[in-house]
């Protein structure tokens, strides 16, 4: 066998292995989707989320006031509800399999850690992202239907309240959803008991929604944190990074005042680190690497 044949063989093997991982990943993802569809509590949560978003868009100034007002109406709402949804959708995802013993069984099916964690994440993410994106896009349709002609002496700048801005908000919301879900799946993979997982997931949600921001405000007010580094600090929390990106790219300007939206690039990097870090933790912690048992 020539050298190139050896290389070709090795490539073939690698390709086959990658294919197997991808296949397994989708099998696992499908199981997660089925689980969600067949878990009434999650379906109820999804319906409640959708109804709440519709309610906010309908009742607030947003739906009838334009895309930017709608974005601002929904921003805080998404910031609070998406972490809660992600916790509900994710915190038992891997832990459940660990507790039933299915995780051990799965491993005898020679499923790689990437395929398993990736599949769990993909399945849950598909459901959650579809829910968030679908709901947000649906309420976005309110704007053209509900916005009345505003009587004004001023000429309206058609560019300032464009649907394009709202789509950016939806994309950022999807990214935020993916990141918070990754963190929850990371917790689910790293913990061994429901109590720990629940405590950690709750702590995560509270930290995201309240804790980190409050700490930043307290730190700045108390002088413990320097104002110079605010952009970095804002990028540390997924929530403030997400908020900063929405304000800088989807809202653009608020009230003619400058907004402490941080640095878009830093915010993006912060979110990326959370995402990859969480998934890496999940892959690392889901089960210990065991050498192949085959001779």
């Amino acid at each position: 066998m020539s050298e190139s044949d050896v290389t070709a063989d090795a490539n073939e093997t690698r390709r086959a292995r990658v294919n197997a991982v991808v296949q397994d990943l989708f099998v696992v993802a499908t199981r997660e989707l089925r689980t969600i569809v067949r878990t009434p509590a999650l379906v109820a949560l999804a319906v409640a989320f959708a109804a709440s978003v519709v309610g906010v868009a309908w009742a607030g100034t947003g739906g009838g006031g334009g895309f930017v007002p709608l974005t601002l109406d929904l921003l805080t709402f998404v910031e609070v509800l998406v972490p809660l949804l992600a916790v509900a959708f994710g915190y038992r995802s891997i832990l459940g399999d660990r507790q039933t013993g299915e995780l051990d069984v799965l491993r005898t099916f020679e499923v790689s850690r990437f395929a398993y964690v990736g599949g769990v994440y993909l399945g849950r993410a598909l459901a959650l992202v579809s829910l968030v994106v679908g709901t947000l896009l649906a309420v976005g349709l309110f704007v053209p239907f509900l916005t009345a002609d505003i009587p004004t002496f001023l000429a309206i700048n058609a560019a300032a309240d464009s649907g394009v801005r709202y789509v950016r908000f939806v994309v950022l919301s999807a990214a935020f959803t993916l990141i918070v879900l990754a963190a929850t799946v990371g917790i689910s993979a790293a913990t061994r008991t429901v109590r720990t997982a629940f405590a950690l997931a709750t702590a995560l949600a509270v930290a995201l929604v309240l804790g980190i921001d409050t700490a930043l405000v307290a730190g700045l007010a108390g002088g413990a944190l320097a104002e110079d580094g605010l952009a970095f600090l804002l990028a540390l929390s997924p929530n403030s990074a997400f908020r900063g990106l929405v304000l800088s790219s989807a809202v653009g300007v608020v009230g003619g005042a400058e907004v402490a939206a941080g640095e878009p690039l830093l915010n993006g990097v912060g979110l990326l680190v959370w995402w990859l870090g969480s998934l890496a933790v999940a892959v690392w912690r889901v089960w210990p690497a065991v050498e192949s048992v085959e001779a």
Partner: protein, 944 residues
């Protein structure tokens, strides 16, 4: 649910991903293309520049103001600028972009649409009847430095056609440049502007200094007339004229005094109706002791001559009418006149009326209305005044009213009344170093531009310094404003607010005011709740917006509305106890039985047996007793320690099938599963102490042992789901889609799935396993009838069978089953072991941990007795029975692991106990009771 298949998931993933990628293109798009943004009527824009004067005059006189319209990406309305330079400066200012977003479209007034001519003043006038159009800024041509101007200064003009621009430049001077060049010439205007402002501050102070020193000279005029006394009443420090006259009344004295002299009033109170200075003289007293007392119905002193002065006296008896404007307001509709009448014709202590260079100094005034009213008296000076007004703002009026001309007001004190200093069109006035404790405002500027309000102290009013209307170029610097409802309220444009101390006010700096940029720097501001002075806060350049008309306030923008609501099971057995029991056991399994204990480190492989179990259905391995080891890592099974069955014939299982291993890929010489020197510890407790085993195809090996003996840990390691600390496991061949199948101790499955769904899922993870295999598996484990039942509704036994089904999917080479029969009724146990036997008959190597010793005795080929992490005995059930001289495996078990087994979970009538007692059992002496627990409980606890 077709979509809930791996393929469906792939499509869904692709769809969601594509949607998100497509939606992400929104970041690359500008919210609306510039082409769709067409110029609008300038009156409908949010006006960001230009003075009211320019706008009014342009409208009245019909000249052109070069204008710019900008569509920002982040601002709901169109922004209009007067003056191309203003717009360019703003477009180049990063803070404007942060505020409004990116400029998407910029239009400028296009003079190519008219044929421009210039007036004498340089104003651009279009042809009669033609209106100026718009052209995109980036394609226009600009004439800079020409004679073209608007009232506030020279301007750049734009043309859509280069020829027109060049023609204009030829006719009126200037240079033709393009948009890029124009932008490059307008840098960051702020630092230069700040310098300019500071120079203006100095210049206005200088003007005030000059004006004041001129006025001070008026106090030094020689005394020519003394009222009510002779010349001796004149203090020595006053100069006297040649021949000092004496007059009985103030009016007489004024009449008698020659120009440029002083009428002196010695201390005393002078009742007067109305004193009028209509010549350039000075009316001076001895200080506050000299009081001019009016009749209480009107103003007391009128100064109507240039360079006239009043000094060093007190004024009282002032009328109480603050404003007389209302009486004559009907006579005119001119707003300016109206205001002048309203504010300029009330009662006052002293009125300066058309008295240029006049001065009032060191005068104390008690007044229910105004202190001093200055009308059209340029360069007048009010200095060292003390004005005590009414108790309330409502009753009183202004300390000083300046109307229509620049005056200097300094070093004066205003107490009570309405406003300290009120200005109306008093452009160029300087108000400095005063102190006010006003009823309403400290310094109140209306329609007053180019003023300087410096170093004033205001306490406890409604506002400290308040600027209204839309003035330009006011300088508000160095004021100390505390305890007011509002500290500083700016307005207008091109103005400078700096170095003000704004402390303890309810609202420090109200930012809701004006158009076009003003600079507000280094003013100290803090919330009123804070007691201490804070270091200066750099507020930077503030941009404020306000629409020009009612209904055009920025408040109707959407954004502000929204924003404002803005351990481990202790296996603590003493080592000596372990050693003691081993010592006891050792004689039971003589090491020299076969005379062939394995060498340390060699693989315990039974070559003879391997050969015997070749594919030609050679005789099955016999059952023999294998020697245990002493101490960790010492046990090695002896080669050929297990003799073949005596008859050498293929061994038949009780359920009767001849076993042959066929068509397997691996060498028939290697065992299906071999483990070497497996060691595992948790903390300082050894769970596995270097155990080794080897299991062949078709062999059913049972691992038995008391609770906590390490069975589950061993099985985890054998199944490849836990890594041993040392040692290795190898699977010697592969017959199906995977190596190892595993049944956990208490299998459970995802709720909401049926038995078939569950198997389907696992089948999909294996290559070459299809629905048919799933059906076959269901059939094999006896779940075909309940295949479509939810796993939640399956009994414990059925769930175990489903777990077995999952374990055997894909025909694994090795099956590792952890307590498959625990918790099941005897029939179910038998059925389960029956399936296990079938699987072995099919060629799988089966390792089963179990407490069901009768079933083990019936179905297992080899029994490994594990205790405290090590095999204490190994062999066929028969050999174990023979060795221990027991009637059943249960008895043999008890014999081998001692009385502790009785405290453990031993099934089938031998004895068992709950796991809670395990720890207790661990502490029980080796010779403890066995019979007490014999009948206890029905449930098998977890092993580990």
């Amino acid at each position: 649910m077709a979509i809930l298949s791996p393929t469906g998931t792939q499509w869904l993933t692709a769809a969601v991903t594509l949607s998100l990628v497509a939606a992400s293109l929104s970041f690359a798009l500008t919210p609306a293309s510039g082409e769709s943004l067409q110029p609008v009527d300038f009156a409908d824009t949010v006006d960001m520049g230009g003075t009211g004067v320019d706008a009014r005059r342009a409208e009245a006189e019909g000249f052109v103001l070069p204008r710019v319209e900008v569509f920002y990406s982040g601002y709901r309305y169109v922004v209009g600028y007067v003056g191309i330079e203003t717009a360019v400066g703003e477009l180049g200012d990063p803070s404007a972009q942060r505020q409004f977003g990116d400029p998407l479209a910029v239009y400028v007034s296009d003079l190519s649409t008219v044929s421009p001519t210039l007036t004498e003043e340089g104003f651009v006038t279009p042809e009669r009847g033609r209106s100026v159009g718009w052209t995109p800024a980036d394609t226009a041509f600009y004439v800079v430095g020409s004679e073209a101007a608007i009232p506030s200064g020279p301007v750049t003009v734009a043309f859509s056609e280069r020829a027109d621009a060049e023609a204009f430049a030829d006719a009126h001077g200037g240079e033709v440049v393009d948009w890029g060049t124009l932008q490059s010439r307008v840098g960051d205007p702020l630092p230069a502007r700040l310098d300019e402002f500071e120079r203006s501050v100095e210049a206005r102070h200088a003007w005030a200094n000059d004006t004041v020193s001129t006025a001070e000279r008026l106090r030094e005029r020689p005394v020519s007339v003394v009222v009510g006394a002779d010349a001796s009443a004149v203090p020595d420090d006053r100069r006297r004229a040649d021949g000092v006259a004496s007059e009985p009344t103030v009016a007489d004295a004024i009449d008698a005094a020659p120009p440029d002299t002083t009428v002196y009033l010695p201390a005393g109170t002078y009742d007067v109706d109305e004193v009028t200075l209509n010549r350039s003289i000075t009316l001076a007293g001895a200080g506050p002791e000299t009081v001019l007392r009016g009749d209480g119905n009107r103003s007391v002193v009128y100064v109507r001559a240039d360079a006239a002065a009043v000094s060093d006296l007190g004024v009282a008896g002032v009328g109480d009418v603050g404003s007389r404007g209302r009486d004559s307001r009907n006579d005119t509709t001119d707003w300016d006149t109206t205001v002048q009448l309203a504010y300029g014709y009330g009662d006052a202590g002293i009125v300066l009326d058309g008295a240029a260079n006049a001065a009032v100094s060191n005068v104390e005034i008690d007044t229910p209305a105004s202190g001093v009213i200055v009308r059209e008296s340029p360069d007048s000076v009010l200095r060292g005044l003390t004005v005590r007004g009414a108790d309330t703002a409502r009753e009183g009026f202004m300390g000083v009213v300046l109307i229509g001309a620049p005056s200097a007001v300094e070093e004066s004190t205003f107490v009570g009344g309405r406003d300290g200093v009120y200005t109306h069109r008093a452009d160029g006035s300087v108000v400095r170093d005063n102190r006010a404790d006003p009823g309403r405002y400290g310094v109140h500027e209306m329609y007053t531009s180019e003023s300087l309000v410096a170093n004033n102290t205001v306490r406890d009013g409604q506002a400290g310094v308040i600027v209204m209307t839309r003035p330009v170029e006011n300088l508000i610097v160095g004021n100390d404003v505390r305890g007011n409802t509002y500290g500083v309220v700016p307005a207008g444009s091109d103005s400078y607010y700096a170095r003000n101390v704004v402390v303890d006010n309810e609202y420090g700096l109200q930012v809701a005011a004006t158009a076009t940029p003003s600079s507000t720097t280094s003013s100290s501001a803090t919330a009123s709740a804070r007691a201490q002075r804070h270091p200066p806060v750099e507020l930077g350049t503030q941009k404020r917006l306000r629409g020009q008309r009612a209904g055009r306030r920025i408040a109707d923008r959407p954004a502000p509305d929204v924003v404002s609501r803005r351990r481990r099971q202790p296996l603590g057995r003493a080592a000596d106890r372990r050693r003691g029991r081993r010592r006891r056991l050792r004689p039971a399994v003589p090491a020299d039985r076969d005379g062939r204990l394995a060498d340390r480190g060699s693989l315990g492989r039974d070559d003879a047996r391997a050969v015997a179990r070749g594919r030609d259905a050679a005789p099955r391995p016999g059952r023999g007793l294998r020697p245990p080891t002493v101490g960790r890592g010492r046990h090695r099974r002896a080669d050929a320690a297990v003799p073949l069955r005596n008859d050498g014939a293929p061994r038949e299982r009780e359920y009767g099938r001849c076993v042959g291993v066929s068509e397997e890929s691996a060498s028939t010489a290697s065992p299906a599963l071999s483990a070497q020197s497996l060691a595992q510890s948790f903390g300082d407790v050894d769970v596995l102490s270097g155990v080794s085993l080897s299991i062949d195809r078709g062999e059913v090996a049972a691992v038995v042992g008391p609770n906590g003996s390490g069975k589950s840990t061993l099985l985890h390691v054998l199944a490849g789901i836990a890594a041993p600390e040392s040692g290795s496991v190898s699977v010697g061949y592969r017959r199906g889609a995977r190596s190892v199948g595993y049944l956990p101790q208490q299998p459970a499955f995802r709720a909401g799935f049926t038995a078939r769904d569950t198997l389907d899922f696992y089948a999909q993870l294996l290559e070459g396993v299809d629905d048919g295999d799933v059906d076959a598996t269901l059939e094999r484990v006896g779940l075909a009838d309940v295949a479509d039942r939810n796993v939640g509704s399956l009994s414990g036994g059925m769930t175990r069978l489903l777990g077995l089904g999952v374990a055997i999917l894909g025909d694994p080479s090795v099956l590792v089953l952890d307590e498959p029969g625990s918790g099941l009724d005897p029939a179910m146990v038998e059925r389960l072991f029956g399936v296990v036997g079938d699987l072995a008959a099919d060629g799988a190597a089966v390792v089963v941990a179990s407490h069901e010793l009768p079933a083990v005795q019936a179905h297992a080929d080899t029994v490994y007795v594990l205790d405290e992490g090590d095999f204490v005995a190994t062999g066929s059930p028969e050999s174990l029975l023979a060795e221990t001289e027991s009637a059943s495996l249960s008895e043999a078990f008890l014999e081998l692991v001692g009385a502790r087994a009785g405290e453990s979970t031993v099934r089938a009538g031998i004895g068992r106990r709950s796991s809670e007692s395990d720890r207790e059992a661990d502490e029980t002496p080796a010779d403890g009771d066995r019979g007490d627990d014999a009948a206890a409980g029905t449930e098998v606890p977890a092993d580990e």
